[in-house]
Symmetry: C2
Subunit: 329 residues, 2 copies
């Protein structure tokens, strides 16, 4: 029952069949005391209602279940640091997945400092000595920048979010690098940064469209923000893509629906989660393994919000900055 | 540390302060062995990526955290019955919340049979002897039926889902009762039942709109289905509300966005969750308490998908059927 390999396979099967007949299941708590592990993984997440995070959570749950692991979910929006500190010290789980770490968050650093197996998934923290699996945000956003420039746009808006979040920092940096290399650097008035919410983006696009020279193309750094941009444009009678192009990042399911028909950058959730769980299992088996950072390629998906305009030939972007999170801004 | 009330408050505070200084946290597993409880609640859910379920999960997590309880999440889409059986026997949690029980599902019945504290939240099971908290689906859907009739529609479509789910059965029954009482009973060809997905509803509305006499109003029994109906109508060039009115049920956040601007029935998630957690805590404290079924009122919210047409005066519907889940169909 402890999964020992010293037991003959047929014997194991027969024992398990008998136990199943008598409705026996090892009392999980007693078993955890005995074998020194809980077969549970803790997931720290915030903003579960955001469609990307809901899809990520769904994929994590499916993957952990396939591994025979339970998922304990904590939402870091509620009393984040105190909660994380307590949870980490309680040893209720064998390892952690962090999906919403920021450059300034302390809970992920506390887990690393405590020597608990932990993997950062989706959002990374530059310089933190632990396993990290992230989308290639810099490259994906660079592709968006080049795409709108090649299509002839020169007045380009950016709807972004707090730069202590790696996805925001990398996407903003990649996009702005492409614009600068293309000879149309983004000026501060064309950038609006706010919360990761539909309503923040809704306000941002109305602000941009009210400018003397409004942008003809807007990159919102997440799909949820892009949905807010499309709806905000609708609310003032601006047509997408006729009056303004809109691009997002994530490729959540609803971005393919007629309501948005959004050009965006695909984050391969299954691959992110698959890699993250593999790294966590490796770490749980060998705490001294050398930490790895894996970057998953993300591809531009062209749809109606940019008039289905074809993608230019791919170009290799300049080298990504190594320490975005710790850079002075 | 066990929360005993026999300890002087000042003494407790001093002990806790010292423990905090030395970074001590009771080992959760050892503590669970000792005090006989885990301070964890198990949530069985499916379809986390559906916006209503994501919002429900978010509210459950917030409410449990406020009570000092951990949430362990299992997704019943993956190997449902075997998983639930095992989890229930393992006693890893003090109680369960089921959010996606059906009339035919066995995991909720197994929990009740095992005498484990369990509450059905959002979806109920008629005749199951346990605490249940549900929205008033019958009444809400009856209101939708009356609303479209009073506005003069006589050719009315229904996009529904498998009737082994209480929300589907009650909403369909409430809606059809209103149509029948209003002299325009729904005919089978005007009803399309499919999966709880955007794409199923997308196909359903295209089917309905292709009929010789297409409906001028459609009720989709969830908001997600209504989004599929609106997008499916768009895909064939039908305008909402000019060509066809669309109503949903749930009032998820995105239904208020310009993309859908959906008339729908509000399910008060906070109240559902608040009541569900209260009943679960009562049950954990007293396993012999008499099971209760609480029905939370749900109100129609009028928006652009029905041309913002005012709501008629409320009317009391005929009495709801007592045994919808066990009725012959």
């Amino acid at each position: 029952m402890s999964g020992s390999t010293r037991v003959n396979e047929r014997t194991r099967a027969r024992v398990l069949a008998v136990l199943d007949e008598v409705n026996y299941t090892p009392h999980a708590v007693a078993r955890a005391m005995k074998v020194g592990r809980t077969d549970s993984v803790g997931v720290f997440m915030s903003r579960i209602t955001s469609p990307f995070h809901a899809a990520l959570l769904d994929a994590i749950g499916r993957r952990l279940a396939a591994e025979g692991l339970q998922m304990i979910l904590w939402n870091l929006e509620h009393d984040p640091h105190e909660l994380a500190q307590r949870v980490i010290r309680q040893r209720l789980v064998d390892g952690f997945l962090f999906t919403s770490a920021t450059f300034t968050s302390r809970s992920d650093k506390a887990a690393v400092a405590a020597g608990v197996p932990a993997v950062l998934l989706h959002r990374g923290v530059t310089g933190l000595d632990c396993d990290q699996v992230v989308g290639d945000n810099y490259r994906g956003a660079w592709d968006v920048g080049r795409y709108v420039l090649e299509a002839g746009h020169t007045k380009i808006g950016l709807v972004s979010a707090p730069l202590e979040v790696s996805t925001a920092a990398e996407r903003e940096y990649g996009f702005r690098t492409a614009l600068r290399k293309g000879g149309h650097p983004a000026r501060e008035p064309d950038i609006v940064r706010g919360a990761f919410t539909h309503s923040a983006a809704h306000g941002a696009i109305r602000e941009l469209l009210a400018r003397p020279v409004p942008p003809t193309a807007v990159f919102a750094i997440t799909d949820l923000l892009a949905h807010g941009v499309v709806d905000g444009a609708r609310s003032v009678g601006a047509r997408v893509p006729d009056d303004v192009w809109v691009c997002g990042f994530d490729n959540v399911e609803m971005s393919s629906w007629e309501a948005y028909d959004l050009t965006t950058v695909n984050q391969p959730i299954e691959e992110l989660v698959d890699t993250g769980v593999k790294l966590l299992k490796r770490r749980m088996a060998d705490r001294d393994a050398r930490p790895r950072t894996v970057r998953i390629p993300c591809e531009l998906v062209v749809r109606g919000s940019t008039a289905n305009t074809a993608l230019p030939e791919p170009v290799t972007p300049p080298r990504r900055p190594r320490n975005l999170g710790t850079m002075k801004r």
